[in-house]
Amino acid sequence: MTRIDAHHHLWSLSARPQGWLDEPALEPIRRDFGPVDLRAATERAGVDATVLVQVLPDVDETAEFLAVAGESDLIAGVVGWVDLTAPDVAEQLDRLRRGPGGDRLRGVRHLVQSEPDPDWLVRPDVLAGLRAVRDAGLVYDVLTRPHQLSAALQAVRAVPDLVFVVDHLSKPDIAGRVLQPWATGLAALAAEPNVAAKVSGLVTEADWTRWTAADLRPYVDLALEEFGPDRLMVGSDWPVCLLAADYERVFATAAELLDGCSAAERDQVFGGTAARVYGLGDR
């Protein structure tokens, strides 16, 4: 069974500035992470395919990610960025697909979490953009925080034939041990058939230095309950995860948290779901 990391990033500080890394707490990951670093991380964890996810709201970054993926037998898919509020989303996607590695484009993401408007996802221009993503046969990765889950639900219902993937389980406050209203919001999303979710990015929502698997368990248990293994996929969120855990520990922790699942169910979360949702084929 192919083991897939459904969510990671790469960046080169010299290639394009990463202003978000200026935050003092992010100093440990304020360096380049390239294909060699990715190989070093994935090899030990037994990961044989990955999904590379956009970092910056910049189509040039996406074009570059596609080119990198096109040369790689490890990076199987790319979730890129286009300006969803623009009238030419279809053309933007088309241009990306015609460029080098364009056939690796599998989805689109926008950093909704940073939008001041809590209803950004249901703006008419954004919904039109999401329909263009659907028409292109792509997936939409939704990166929200708990307070944005209701807008996410509206968007999911407004574009029912677009597959939404909830990144990082919508970032619950694990360090604060807060469950509500996150749990209700996530459960409502899970009730919609066109939604899957990523068990990723959780270690950095927990206490970076003192977290244990037990801290994550209530959140993962709820996700398992609501989505089921067929709609969940493990992602590392590497290199961001390095703030709280190395790559191997992220995967080892995921395995530990899935100890109640059957082998077949674990295979889904560790690869099957990602392969199906992102159309990564039989690699």
Binding site: R39, R44, E71, L74
Partner: protein, 327 residues
């Protein structure tokens, strides 16, 4: 008659079919990372400055050299230079892990808190290279060589080599190969894999022409680049006096006698032995470039000056005859 080619050392030449070019004279960074004895930070920096000033644009390093010290020093220096103007090679096969290193550990007076662990697995290659990138601060290495797999052939061809091939395929490195002190296993690499280049140390010099038997002809045939290191056999051909080292150990008497005989022939033509030794490998058409180490700016300047020394054809003939008799 003098075979003068004053510009040869800074000339950029293609390394096999890889698309990478190197200056014919490259700088080896083992000495400036404390090979045999410690080298101060400023001395090392001055050596790198001098190399750049002399037009050297190919730098070879490895985690092994000073347990990371060479990569750190080279990277710090190149941070202030246009990276695209030069070619850098490093190596894989030894991981550096925390540990207490005695001065002189594995020949180096380098970083004290790290020791070497051999690892020729794919995982080891990726980790080693990721750590080399971090240590040096460089965003890529142009060339990556499998380092000293003498007792690890099986791991090297089933682990390290396929890993490097993948990195080359995805553009993370531009050329791959192996670097060793022996010719026989390098010949196997060239025959059995798709390496772009080899770095052969000590086996194609005035004192040891072993690489000419099989390795160099095969490389020429397969258009595999050849970098020659150890042109002084770790010291003796630079200075064949009493304390000379041959292949990293005190030189045996018979080797010293041969070196002194070579020096005598050179002196008769007014050529320093070291100049002939530095130039010798490039007489073979398979050889792309020579990699010569230096501990300080003066040694770099000396090497550059020796590179510019014209060598009479008659001297080559005499040196060839001497070595034929020695075989």
């Amino acid at each position: 008659m003098t075979s003068a080619a004053p510009e040869w050392s800074t000339e950029r030449v293609p390394l096999g079919r890889s698309g990478v070019t190197v200056s014919r004279l490259g700088l080896g960074t083992a000495p400036l990372a404390g090979l045999f004895s410690a080298v101060a930070e400023e001395e090392a920096a001055a050596a790198l400055e001098a190399a750049w000033a002399a037009g050297i644009r190919y730098f070879d390093t490895a985690p092994h050299y000073g347990a990371g010290l060479a990569e750190r020093r080279l990277g710090a220096f190149l941070a202030s230079r246009p990276r695209a103007e030069c070619t850098v090679s490093t190596k894989v096969g030894r991981l550096l892990v925390p540990g207490e290193a005695a001065p002189g550990d594995e020949g180096f007076h380098g970083e004290r808190g790290l020791v070497r662990v051999r690892d020729y697995s794919a995982d080891g290659v990726y980790r080693s290279l990721a750590e080399s990138l971090e240590r040096s601060g460089l965003d890529s290495f142009d060339v990556v060589l499998i380092h000293d797999p003498d007792d690890h052939w099986e791991d090297a061809v089933t682990g390290a080599y396929p890993a490097l091939e993948r990195l080359r395929a995805e553009g993370a490195v531009r050329a791959i190969g192996a670097g060793m002190n022996q010719a026989a296993m390098l010949t196997r690499f060239v025959a059995e894999t798709d390496v772009d280049c080899v770095l052969v140390a000590g086996r194609y010099s005035l004192l040891d022409r072993g690489a000419a038997d099989e390795l160099l002809p095969l490389c020429e045939k397969r258009q595999v680049g050849v970098l020659v290191g150890g042109v002084f056999n770790s010291g003796i051909l630079a200075d064949p006096t009493a304390h000379a080292t041959y292949d990293y150990a005190p030189a045996p008497d018979d080797v010293r006698r041969r070196a002194l005989a070579l020096a005598e022939r050179c002196a008769a033509h007014g050529v320093p032995l070291v100049a002939a030794a530095l130039r010798f490998p490039l007489r073979h058409p398979a050889v792309t470039g020579v990699v010569v180490g230096a501990r300080n700016a003066r040694e770099v300047a000396d090497n550059a000056a020796h590179a510019a020394t014209g060598i009479p054809e008659a001297l080559w003939a005499e040196l060839d005859a001497l070595e034929e008799r020695a075989q």
